[in-house]
């Protein structure tokens, strides 16, 4: 065996003047970083285990702790950077695929931050959302192309099934198994209170949460885990998951260790067996095949529920979306390459897929060009971080946004990106009962509601500034956007002008 040592990534800095040795850090660290040295009466730490989740920092009653990035560095090298070299060491040690969690952390351009929003001045006056009604409600589903009347000239108002959202934000798919029971309950309760939807992911729906069914989107993915009649019937809509932004082109793998108790029952697989979702759906090799599944699900739900098809944003996303829009699906969900995950091979997460901003603009344009934009609603996700991201996405052509990373942040996640360990100190990405109980859904749902309500206020403010009082009037209104520091090509794809133009 060679030398395996890799210097710890983080340092635990403890201010001994403040530390009262209450041992809260020790009790709260599932990674067992902190320990008490009884002989010396002091707290100590083993940095090699620290993932910088900040649980100890957040709970230390005297603010005696901070976690900093270690400055023990290899010799500087612009090409062979520290992380790159350490990954090589790790693989040389283990011979294994590198695993990571949450979204792509690499410094790719964030187009949201290079897009600016318009505001009214003098003409087309702005609207004060505190004084004027402001509509953020949206409906997702197939829309008629033109007004239809019957033989007597009476308006035909029968619409295909729609999802009504109080604002264009939903919680995107996170499975029970990848996240905890309490995280699911928090999402379900918040979605219900907010008048939006959350998404089961591919983990089935725990029977306790059937009562939140009218705010639940259930997922049917390549492993078909947890899918049965009652599951489909409990839902408000059904989502076929073809791909995920964090790991386009590959399936999922929830280790057997996490398939315990209720998770196993809900997924309908034996305890301890790995839950492997295949990379493709083995019954879908064409748009026609997809269409079959879409209509199977419509049949199963008596055409009362919209069917969503979720795909990862990849190179030819516009053509793919065009196909899906013709498959009979009511809603297309596109997940950008910065979207989160409970576990993904690092190389895939960091190198596969394209940014959601470009994918959205391309898809919206393509569907318009083909005259099929009204066939479907577009939902986009993959790192929607704020109300302004939502507003920009709507103006680029989205009907609504999916948020998940923002939602788990509201639940306490500190983006330590080690969900795959199953030892989430915040009770979110774990099934260990002692850790799961750290997330009280009373608090979790309240924080989610707070977050989304705050965003709603901000969306109204931004809309008011633009002189728009209904979010429907903002959809695809790219004149409200300008680019900054973007190339001609980027502006062309985004379909927006440069600032100053």
């Amino acid at each position: 065996m060679g030398v395996e040592f890799i210097y710890p990534e983080f340092e635990v800095i403890r201010n001994d003047n403040r530390c009262i040795a209450c041992r809260v850090c020790e009790r709260q660290c599932a990674n067992e970083v902190h320990f008490f040295n009884a002989e010396r009466g002091v707290m100590m730490s083993d940095e090699t285990k620290c993932v910088n989740c900040q649980r100890c920092v957040s709970l230390c009653p005297t603010r005696a702790l901070k976690i900093v990035k270690s400055d023990c560095k290899l010799r500087e090298n612009a090409n062979w950077q520290d992380d790159t070299i350490k990954e090589i060491y790790k693989q040389a040690n283990s011979g294994a695929v590198l695993l990571s969690s949450m979204g792509n952390p690499k410094p790719f351009p964030v187009y949201w931050d290079k897009i600016l929003i318009n505001a009214s001045q003098v003409t087309n006056p702005s609207i004060d959302p505190l004084r004027e009604p402001m509509e953020t409600r949206v409906f997702l589903g197939k829309k008629p192309d033109k007004v239809k009347r019957d033989a007597n000239g009476k308006l035909l108002c029968e619409l295909p099934p729609q999802l009504e959202l109080s604002l264009p934000v939903m919680f995107s798919a996170m499975s029970y198994g990848s996240i905890s029971y309490n995280a699911h309950e928090s999402l379900a309760r918040a979605a219900t209170e907010l008048g939006i939807y959350y998404n089961t992911g591919e983990g089935g729906l725990h029977e306790d949460f059937y009562c939140y069914g009218k705010n639940t989107i259930v997922q049917v993915a390549s492993g078909r885990f947890g899918v049965h009649k009652e599951y489909l019937e409990a839902s408000a809509a059904v989502e076929i998951k073809m791909g995920q932004g964090a790991k386009p082109g590959i399936g999922g793998h929830l280790p057997g260790a996490k398939i315990v108790g209720d998770v196993s029952r809900t997924r309908m697989i034996p305890e301890g067996s790995d839950a492997i979702s295949p990379a493709p759906h083995h019954d879908i090799y064409s748009i026609e095949d997809l269409r079959q599944l879409v209509f199977s699900l419509k049949e199963a739900t008596e055409y009362k529920k919209p069917i969503i098809v979720k795909v990862a944003a990849v190179h030819n996303i516009a053509a793919i979306a065009s196909g899906i829009a013709r498959s009979g699906a009511d809603i297309i969900a596109i997940d950008g390459f910065r979207g989160g995950t409970g576990a993904a091979p690092t190389r895939i997460r960091d190198n596969v897929g394209i940014p959601i901003e470009l994918a959205l603009a391309a898809v919206d344009q393509r569907l318009r060009d083909e005259g099929i934009r009204n066939n479907v609603s577009l939902v986009v996700g993959g790192s929607i971080r704020s109300a302004s991201d939502v507003v920009k996405a709507i103006a680029l052509g989205a009907d609504a946004c999916y948020i998940a990373t923002a939602a788990v942040l509201a639940l306490g996640c500190h983006l330590c990106r080690t969900c795959q360990s199953g030892k989430c100190n915040w009770g979110i990405a774990t099934q260990r009962p002692d850790l799961v109980k750290r997330l009280n859904p009373d608090i979790g749902s309240e924080r989610l509601v707070n977050l989304v309500k705050a965003w709603q206020h901000e969306i109204k403010e931004l809309m008011g500034g633009m002189g728009i009082n209904s979010i429907e009037a903002l959809r695809g209104n790219r004149l409200m956007l300008r680019g900054i520091g973007l190339t001609e090509k980027e502006l062309e794809i985004l379909g927006i002008l440069h600032a100053g133009e």
Partner: protein
């Protein structure tokens, strides 16, 4: 009457309530100064085994046996809140002998102290409740 209630479903066994209690009743401005390097004598304590944990503090019983049993007349009930007069208490621990909840423990000096819902200190609301990271301890009317 508002009381402190615990819900073991959400107790993490972090023991913060004990430290927050000890600090709130220390009369000091800074927790490190108040508690560093000494044993603490909180008025709430966490009990735990491998699977559960929960905090126990005075239940402020409607018919308090501790008050009836106090040999020094040091315990009294006012507006439902059970208080101890540390000047009168002689530390005989009869209240410890009779409290069915095991909620009472003496102070460092041996004289009794007890949860008085932080009504007398600067905290305003019970410090254990305020500092509980998971709402396992609440202060409410039931």
């Amino acid at each position: 009457m508002k009381r402190v209630y615990v819900n073991e479903k959400w107790c993490l066994g972090c023991h913060l309530c004990e430290y927050n209690c000890a600090f709130a009743n220390s009369g000091m401005q800074d927790m490190a100064t108040a508690l560093k390097g000494k044993p603490i004598y909180p008025r709430i304590h966490v009990e735990e085994n491998d699977t559960i944990s929960y905090a126990v503090s005075c239940r402020h019983c409607t018919d308090p046996i501790c008050v009836k049993s106090c040999i020094a007349g040091a315990l009294s009930q006012e507006d439902g809140v059970i208080r101890v007069d540390p000047e009168k208490c002689v530390g005989c621990l009869t209240c410890v002998l009779v409290c069915p909840y095991g909620a009472l423990a003496p102070s460092e000096s041996g004289v009794m102290q007890k949860c008085e819902l932080c009504l007398q200190n600067s905290c305003g609301e019970p410090a254990c409740v305020k500092g509980c990271p998971n709402r396992a301890i609440v202060y409410e009317e039931r």
